[in-house]
Subunit: 338 residues, 2 copies
């Protein structure tokens, strides 16, 4: 049995055909269309996977970048302009005539890293995706958690500094203002405006306001002291948010994914140092491991497929539209309670 | 079958004898002894319950104010001086020759409010106990959560203002510095030192530094505008932390317990207003209810007894030292997944 998993990103949609072992048999990607064309595009991706493989998809999983409720409605999606109260799940199910499961994209990535990647075997894990913004997924007590209404994991909007910079969400000092890609860029531009990062500013055409996070990461890699200083400050804020999540949830592993995971070689150690400095009662507890995600940019689509498979298995167990073959999700979740 | 539930507080220990319906049949309290006498005192409370009722306790649950690990060791307890790495569970089990379950006190209170009180029937709930410090308990996906090592719920040490006042834990701007009883007192003293709260300062003998939170609450109740202003600021910080927890966990109900719940008549509405102002994407989601705890000062001991009962039931199901009669915990947890 195959299921389709689709990750809806700010710029592209990635669709995978996945079997019951979690293996990827097909892959298609297209640019993310405007909101009113989204459901049609997703349906087209399923059709394209089916025709290229000559096999039918038993169900479809979708990871969407925003607040997804328990009915598969994308309530709000800041990075897909115009997307408000879009009934992705019901409409895609109707279009494809297949069962559809829609979740937040970071929830999907967490499912994949938990079952097949960096958090495999953990009963309690938190994954944060550090990209333009910050997403997160939670595994608590051996279960992937979505919260009561589907909105768990909006950790980017934890307020960590009420006098901090204004967030597009309307509040001040959200964690996302510091520990995301845009946070790194803001810290870098502040340093550039203060006369630092001369080498990086030159690369940006001499305009401090044009400095990008990637350039700071590259300069830090080459040992530029001022760039390393910016990375240190950035990592401190990442560590602070991970500490807050650990004080709340006490996971055994914290997984860092998203675009910034590619800067792990310069960011990870400073994050670990900040975490150890900020954690409550550090001498009286086991610290969680802080690791990088291992599944890369496919994690979201893969997790969406795994969650669609679980949805099909649940429906089958309830006697609803049994899929043609039993679906057995990969084993990590089964190690719960060890 | 009866179990004993004991809540270890900073000043007193409260012990209850509880039956399988969650009814309280006996109650004893004693002052909390120094750390080296704690286990002996707890054993004495169990013996006293047994002799007063003429019945044996099948097991003992303890709620302790600090970091309790999964082996029943109290790793650190800031409010019970000298308590570090105290093996409460193993030592009390050896002393009483009964199965013992030790949890964090706020975890115990949450269990009680979830099964019998304000969070009854919820699949996802957070309880915060606002006292001298802040504790919390989490119910996620229909399970009480303790985290991987037993330390979930240390929400008082979420950093919400890195430039804020120093916390005894060593960091700055922990939520506890604002939203606890000591936080209220600090906000009140700041107002008094700025020349406000004249009526309250007079009550405190004219010394702004002697102003207590209770006096501000009382003045607010009488309509004192400056006292109401302090309460408003306090409530804003309570709301901010509850928003952070909701952005992470998306519960359906937030329960406020601890000593400050007694100020609910003046605090609850301003907390709800601050929460609605600070929540991420408030127009696109169902907001959790924010309610007061209903079980009062017995919640911790009652929850400790319920958790001991669950431990006995689990041991019985595994064929280990079956208790004399089957233990059926009250039903709320059974409503999971509705």
């Amino acid at each position: 049995m195959l299921v389709a998993g689709i990750d809806v990103g700010g710029t592209k949609c990635l669709a995978l055909a996945v079997d019951g072992e979690g293996s990827v048999l097909g892959e298609v990607r297209v640019p993310t269309p405007p909101s009113d064309g989204l459901v049609g595009t997703l349906g087209g991706l399923v059709a394209e996977l089916e025709s290229s493989l000559g096999r039918s998809m038993a169900g479809v999983g979708v990871g969407a970048p925003g607040l997804v409720d328990q009915h598969g409605v994308l309530r709000a999606a800041p990075n897909v302009p115009g997307t408000v109260e879009l009934a992705v799940g019901p409409r895609l199910a109707s279009l494809t005539e297949r069962p559809v499961q829609v979740d937040n994209d970071a929830t999907c990535a967490t499912e994949a890293e938990w079952r097949l990647g960096a958090a495999r075997g953990a009963t309690d894990a938190v994954m944060v995706t550090l990209g333009t913004g910050i997403g997160a997924g939670l595994v608590c007590g051996g279960q992937l958690q979505r919260g009561r209404h589907g909105f768990a994991g909006e950790v980017g909007h934890m307020v960590v500094d009420p006098d901090g910079p204004r967030c597009p969400c309307g509040r001040r000092g959200c964690w996302e203002r510091y520990a995301s890609g845009s946070g790194l860029r803001r810290l870098a531009r502040e340093a550039a405006e203060a006369g630092q990062l001369a080498h990086v500013v030159a690369q940006a055409g001499g305009d401090p306001d044009g400095v990008m996070g990637e350039q700071v990461v590259a300069a830090a890699r080459e040992g530029d002291a001022e760039a390393l200083d910016v990375i240190e400050r950035f990592a401190w804020w990442v560590g602070l948010g991970l500490v807050n999540l650990t004080n709340v949830l006490d996971p055994e592993v914290l997984v860092i994914g998203g675009g910034l995971a590619r800067a792990g070689d310069v960011v990870l150690e400073p994050v670990r140092r900040a975490f150890a400095e900020l954690l409550y009662a550090p001498g009286h507890r086991t610290h969680p491991r802080i690791v990088l995600a291992t599944l890369g940019e496919r994690a979201g689509a893969l997790g969406a497929a795994l969650l669609a498979g679980e949805m099909l298995a649940l429906r089958a167990s309830l006697g609803q539209e049994a899929p043609s073959a039993p679906w057995a999700p990969p084993a990590a979740g089964g190690e719960v309670g060890k």
